[in-house]
Amino acid sequence: MGSVPFFFMSASSILIQFLNGLASASSLFLVAAGLSLIFGVTRIVNFAHGSLFMLGMYLAVALAPMLGFWWSVPLAALAVAAFGALVEATLLRRLYAAPELLQLLATFALVLVIKDFTLWAWGPEDLLGPRAPGMDGAVRIAGLRYPEYDLFLIGFGPLVLGALWFLLRRTRWGTLVRAATQDREMAGALGVNQRWLFTSVFALGALLAGLGGAVQIPREPATLFIDLQIISDAFVVVVVGGLGSIPGAFLAALLIAEIKSFCIGLGYSKITLVVEFIVMAVVLVIRPWGLLGRMPAQSRGPGTVELPLAFPTRKALAALGGMAMMLALVPLLSAGYTLVLLTDILVFALFAVSLHFIMGPGGLHSFGHAAYFGLGAYGAGLLLLKGGLPMELALALAPLLAVCGALVFGWFCVRLSGVYLAMLTLAFAQITWSVMFQWDAFTGGSNGLIGIWPSSWLSSKTAYYYLTLATCVGAIALLWRVLHAPFGYALRAGRDSPLRADAIGIDVRAQQWAAFVFAGLFAGLAGALFAFSKGSISPEALAVPRSVDGLVMVLLGGIQTLTGPVWGAALLTWLQDAVSRGIDYWRAVMGAIVLVLVLVFPQGVTGFLRERFAR
C-alpha cells in the first residue's frame, strides 16, 4: 500500500484503523499493566516481561491443537503465572535488598535464558496460531469487513481493566497490595506476610503478560523477536502512562496502539517508531513521570554510598604502561589469530570503558549502550560505501553519528533516573536496532553491509592491530584521565548527591548529558574500529545482546573500579571466542553467567578479589 495523506482516507477506513488500534491496545495494556503492578510492589522493573509474553504465545500455540483455542489461552496464561511465581521465589526474592542495577541485570539475564529456552523447545521458525473458533469470521462495519476476533479483543482490554480495578479496590488482597506499594516495611510490621504478597503479585503480573501473548496468537505468529519488541513497547507505554499506574497503562496503550495503527493505515509503517518516539518525548517533557504517574517516592533507608575512586598509584600506572608496551610487542611473536583476538579485545575494552564511564562514576545505568557502538559501526560503513569517503576519514567521522544519537537520546535519558532511565535507554537502543534492521535500502536491513575494508596500508592484520592498539589505548587513557579531572569529580558529585551538587553550582543534568555524549563518542569509535576489522556489519552490532555484553564486562570487572572494565572485556571476549563456537545456546550461558555474577559476586570479580585479599 502506498502512502495516503490523512485527509484522503475515507471515513470508513479511518474507523477501521481506529478499531485496529483498539484491538492492539488490549494486548499491550495487559503486558504494561503486569509490568506496572510488579514494579509498584516489588520495585523491580521486570525486563523479562516481554519474554513472559512470548512464552504465553508459544504455549498457547502449542496447546491449541490438543485443547482447542479457548482452553489453550487461559491455560497458557496460568502456566506463565506459575513460571513467574517460581522465578520470584527462587531468584528475585534474593534480590529485593540488592542495588537496583543488579535487579535489572538479573531480569535482563532471564530474557536471554527464556529466549534460548524457547528456541530449544519450539525451534527458530515462526509459529502460526489457530483462529479462534466461533470468532473466525468477519462482520461488516461501515461497509468494510472487520474480524470478529478483533471486536472481542476490543472488549477484552477494558474487561481486564475492570477486573484489575475490582481486585485492587474491592478485595483485601488488593488493599494489601496498595499498602505494600506505598510502604512495604510498615505493612510487614502490621503483620502482612510480604513473601506471599510479592509472589502472588509477580504471578499475577506474569499471568497478565502470558494472557497478553496468548490472546494475540490468532492475529500474529509467535516469533523469537517478539520478546524485545513487546518489552520496548511496554516500556514506552509505561513511561508514557506513568510507572505504577494501571489506568495510566491503559490510556498510554490506547495512545501508542492508535498511533501505530494510523501510521500503518496511512502506509507509513516504517516511521511508526519515530512517531512513537516523538509522542514519548512530548509526554516526558510535559510530564516527566508519565500521564497518570507520580514522582517516585524516595526509598527508605540509607542509599548505597560508593567509595571514592582512587587515583591509580605510580606503580599501577607503570604496570599499565608496561602492559601497553607488551601489547605493542605481540606482533613480533605472532601474526595470526592472536592478533585478531587481541584486536577484538581492545575494541571491546574501549566499549566497556565508555559504558563504565557513565555507569560507574556517572551513575547512569544504560541498558542500551550498544546503540552507540552500532551507530559508529554503521556510520563507518555508510560513510565509506554510500558517502564515498576514504577509509581514514570515515573512521574519524563515524563516531559523530554515535554522538548525534547520544545527543538526542541522552537529552531524554538524563531527565530520568534509576529504572526509568534504564527502560528508556533500552527502548532507544531497540528503536535504533529496528531502524537499521528495517531500512533495507540504506542499511542493508537484516543482511547489513559488506565490503567495509580498511585502506591498503592498513589491510594487514599487524597494521590494523597497531592502529587499534594506539587508538584504544589513547582513548581509554583519555576517558580515565577525564574521570580524575574536575569533570569527573563533578560527575561523581552529581551521582552521589544531586541536590548538593546542584547547590554548589553544578548543572547535574548538563554534566550527565555531556558525559553521556562523551561515552557515546567512544562507543562509536569502538564500533567504527570494529566495522573495519571485520569488513562487514549487521544489525547484531547494536542488538540487545551487545548491550548485555557491555554490562557483563563492566560487572565482571567491578562497577566501581577503574581498570575493571578492561579485564572484564578481555575475559568475556576471550570466553566468547573460545566457548561460543562450541555451544548452540550461547545466550542462555551468558544469562546464566550474569545470574551467577549477580547472586554470588554482587561487587564484581575484581571488587570481590579486592575485598577478599584486602583483609
Binding site: 494489601l176 499498602a179 506505598q182 516495611e185 510498615m186 510490621a189 502490621l190 503483620g191 502482612v192 506476610n193
Partner: protein, 227 residues
C-alpha cells in the same frame, strides 16, 4: 511480658545501642525516656524486627523473638506504632484499618472498626477519607487504631504525643490509660516528661544508647532532667 536483655544495635558502623536491658510488665505502661537520638526508636524497631540487633535477646511472653520477621512478631501479638505515623496515604481510613486486621487473639481485647470509632470518634466521622487528607492529630489516631486492629497483647508506641496540640495530647493520655484498662501491655517512648507522668507505671532513662536508670517516674525524673 516483654523482656529485653543485652541489646546491641548499629546502623552500618555507627553503633546505636549498648547493652540495653529492661522489661515491660503485663498490663502496665512502661516508658523509655530519652532525648532525640538517644536510641529509643531503634529499641522499638529492634523489638518489632525492623532493625536486626547485633546481639542480645528479646523475649515476648517468654519466647525469643529477635530472629523473627516483622510480620511474624506482629502475628504473635506485638503492635507497633511508628513515630512518623506511616499511615497509608493512598488508602482510606477503613482501608488503613483493614491492613492492620488480624484474627482475634486469646488474652487480648478484640477490636472492630465500630469499637475503635468509639475510642476515636473523629475517625468514625471520616471513614472514607484518604489518609493524605487527614490532619496530623487524626493521622496519629489512625495509626494507633490501625495497630489495634491486629488485636495485640502488647503495643509499642513511639512518641505518640509528638507534634500534637495540648488538647489532643490529653486525649492521647486518656486513650493509653483506656488501653491499659483493657489489659494491654504498653511500651512507650517519650521525651515529654509531662505526658509520661500521665501514663507511666515504670520508667527507664536512656541516654546515648545506654540505660541510665530505672524506677517509678518520680524516681527517675531528676536523672532525666540532667541528661
Amino acid at each position: 511480658m516483654l523482656e529485653v536483655s543485652g541489646l546491641d544495635a548499629a546502623y552500618g558502623r555507627a553503633r546505636i545501642l549498648f547493652d540495653v536491658s529492661f522489661e515491660a510488665h503485663a498490663g502496665q505502661v512502661a516508658v523509655l525516656l530519652g532525648r532525640n537520638g538517644a536510641g529509643k526508636s531503634t529499641t522499638l524497631k529492634c523489638i518489632i524486627g525492623l532493625v536486626r540487633p547485633r546481639s542480645g535477646e528479646i523475649r515476648f511472653d517468654g519466647r525469643p523473638i529477635q530472629h523473627l520477621q516483622p510480620y511474624q512478631i506482629a502475628r504473635l501479638g506485638v503492635g507497633y506504632v511508628p513515630e512518623d505515623r506511616r499511615i497509608f496515604t493512598d488508602l482510606t481510613v477503613m482501608e488503613n484499618l483493614e491492613i492492620g486486621r488480624q484474627p482475634p487473639r486469646e488474652g487480648a481485647p478484640r477490636w472492630t472498626p465500630a469499637k475503635l470509632f468509639e475510642l476515636f470518634p473523629n475517625l468514625g466521622r471520616m471513614q472514607d477519607r484518604l489518609g493524605a487528607r487527614m490532619s496530623g492529630g487524626e493521622q496519629q489516631m489512625l495509626t494507633i487504631a490501625r495497630t489495634l486492629m491486629g488485636n495485640p497483647r502488647a503495643i509499642l508506641l513511639d512518641e505518640p504525643s509528638e507534634g500534637l496540640a495540648p488538647v489532643i495530647v490529653e486525649q492521647m493520655a486518656r486513650t493509653i490509660r483506656e488501653l491499659k484498662a483493657q489489659g494491654l501491655t504498653v511500651l512507650l517512648c517519650e521525651q515529654n516528661l509531662h505526658f509520661a507522668r500521665l501514663v507511666a507505671d515504670r520508667a527507664y532513662v536512656i541516654e546515648k544508647g545506654q540505660l541510665r536508670r530505672s524506677g517509678t517516674l518520680d524516681e527517675v525524673r531528676e536523672e532525666y532532667q540532667q541528661v
